[in-house]
Every structure is written in C-alpha cells, then in structure tokens.
C-alpha cells in the first residue's frame, strides 16, 4: 500500500480561504440535509394519509398542509442553492466588477444557520445598495465572515447584528452593528488577528471601530487608489 502523500504546504492566507470554503460547504450541506428531512417527512405523511384512505382522521386538510410544507421547503431549498451557486462562482476570478451588497447578502444567507445556532439574527439592508466596485468578491466575503464570526461568538443570545453596505466615490463600506454589545470571550475566532490583518491588506481595506459599529472600508480597484 502506498503512503498517503503529505498535505501540500500553503501560505496562511490561502489556507484560511480553504478553511472558509470548508466551513460554508459544511453549513450548506447540513442545512440541505435538514431541508430534505422536512420534504421526506411531509411526503411520508401524504403517503400515510393516502394509505389510510377514509380512515385518516383529517385526510384532505392534512394532505394539503403536507403538500404545502413540501412546496415551502422546496422554495427555501432553491433559494439556498441559488445563493450557494453564486457564492461558488465568486471564486472564478479574483478581479471582477461586482456589487458588494449582493456578495454580502449571499454570505449572510449562507451563514444564517451559524448565527441562529448562537441565537443571533443577521439583518441587512442590501436592496438599496446597488453600486459596483472592481475587486475580489470572494475575498470581501471572507473578510466580512471573519468579522461576523467574531461578533456572533461574542453577541448575547437574542441579539441582532445588522449589516449595511454602501458604495461611492471609488470606495465601498460595510458597516456591522451588533445591537447587543460585544464581549470577547475565550472562544477562538475563525481568523486570528494576524490573518485578518493579512486579508485586509489583500482586500485593500481597513477596519474602523466607531463606538459599537465595525466599519470596513475598502477601495474600488478601478480607481487610482486601487492596486490593479
């Protein structure tokens, strides 16, 4: 039997991109399994009721409710898959013109379960923020994930973290506002401070703390400020 080749050594910032992808994939597949579980049970209930025929206690109503649950669930699943598909394509090229608001909305949908496990709600006003920038949307998603991950771990249960995106004058901004405060705990965050700093450098971004708001500023790389 041949030995398993050692894992290739990657630089830390490439490594964290792989870790992020793994995290999102794991969350997505877990969520998908839950969605399938609902569809399977609803379908099973319809089968049970059909099998019981006239003996079913609330036949047509219960069947209709189960069919509606399947319909609802398929809609939720399709929406999740659409977001995941767009997320996957963000990695196609590191320099594209994109809408940061869309990239961040996608991220918040995909990590919703991580937040809800901690009893934290993620909210965002993305529809109005339609401006475009040039850059690496996958990198922006990773940076914002690192920030949200820290806040989610530190947020009190029942609190909300609001995310707002704005674009203009060659720069873009992501404001993250936790309404329940921020109390760093002992738990290890997804990104170390050094990793976050490295990612911010790559993004051409800087992080400001304005009271309770975490503000991520980053350049539109179409402008003279930009690197490429």
């Amino acid at each position: 039997m041949s030995a398993i080749p050692p894992r290739p050594v990657r630089d830390p910032l490439t490594e964290i991109r792989f870790r992020f992808l793994g995290k999102v994939l794991a969350t997505f597949s877990h969520e998908l399994k839950n969605h399938l579980a609902v569809i399977k049970e609803s379908n099973g209930l319809v089968g049970d009721l059909v099998g019981m025929g006239s003996r079913a206690p609330s036949g047509p109503e219960a069947s209709r409710a189960a069919v509606e649950a399947v319909e609802r669930q398929v809609g939720r699943t399709l929406s999740l898959i659409r977001h995941f598909n767009r997320f996957a394509h963000r990695m196609d090229t590191p320099s594209v013109v994109y809408r940061p608001a869309e990239a961040i909305e996608e991220l918040t949908v995909l990590i919703q379960r991580l937040a809800s496990q901690a009893r934290v709600a993620l909210s965002g006003g993305f529809a109005a923020a339609g401006g475009e920038v040039r850059g690496d949307p996958a990198l922006l998603q990773l940076v914002v994930f690192c920030l949200l991950d820290r806040l989610i771990r530190a947020a009190p249960p029942g609190s909300t973290i609001a995310v707002e995106v704005s674009v203009g004058r060659g720069r873009a901004r992501v404001d993250i506002r936790p309404d329940g405060g921020f109390a760093p705990g002992g738990e290890e965050a997804f990104c170390s401070p050094e990793e976050l700093e490295g990612l911010l450098d790559q993004l051409g971004g800087e992080l400001e703390r304005l009271g309770g708001i975490w503000r991520l500023n980053f350049v539109d790389k179409r402008t003279p400020d930009g690197v490429n």
Partner: protein, 125 residues
Amino acid sequence: MNESRVLVVDDEVDFASTLAERLQLRGYRAEAVFSPEDAVAVIKERPFDILLLDLKMPGMSGIDLLRVARGLLPDVEVILLTGHLDLEAVLEQVPEEHFDYILKPIDIKVLLEKVERARARRTGG
C-alpha cells in the same frame, strides 16, 4: 392503541410537527415542540416515555437537553436525531448516558423499530 408518550424536539417546525403527526397516526401520543426551552417546560409539566431530540438546536444542543431531561425524567428513553455523520464524536460526549440515534433524513421504518425497542425497554416487554 399504543399509549406511549413521545415528544419530538426540533427547531425545524415543519419537520417536528410532521413527524409527530406521523407517530400519532400510528397510535403514539406524540407531540412536537420547537426549542429546547419549550421541551424543558413541557417535560416539567407532564411525563414522557420517549424523547426524540435534534442534536443541533439553537441555544442548547440535544446532548445538553438529554442531560436536563434525564434530570427530570431519569428513566426516559432518548433517540437523538442527527444530520451528523461523525457519530463517534457525539457518542464520546456522553459516555455515561444511554441513548439511541438515527440519521436525518430519517427512514420511518427504522425510526419506528427504534421507538418500539425503546417502548419495550420502558415496559419491560
């Protein structure tokens, strides 16, 4: 009529309520709640023979809920519902507790076998 009292606890509302309904159709006195806190409140109010607990719930895991529930109902039978394939890690968390488990999406026949085995343990049958 099967008189076993079954509580389904899962934050996926459609999943939990549908599963409870399917168990009711088979004669079990089944009900569903959608959070660990509601489960504890209901268990404090009335006894159950069998608990079906989702492993991953907001606020409190199925494992933590299992411990709380056993504090209230020491002889209750527990079947964990899990989407996790890494079951060994789950089992290692609670070597002292007895419980069964089933993977989601569930196979109703397999679940019913497990529920029946749990019922037999309860009744000594």
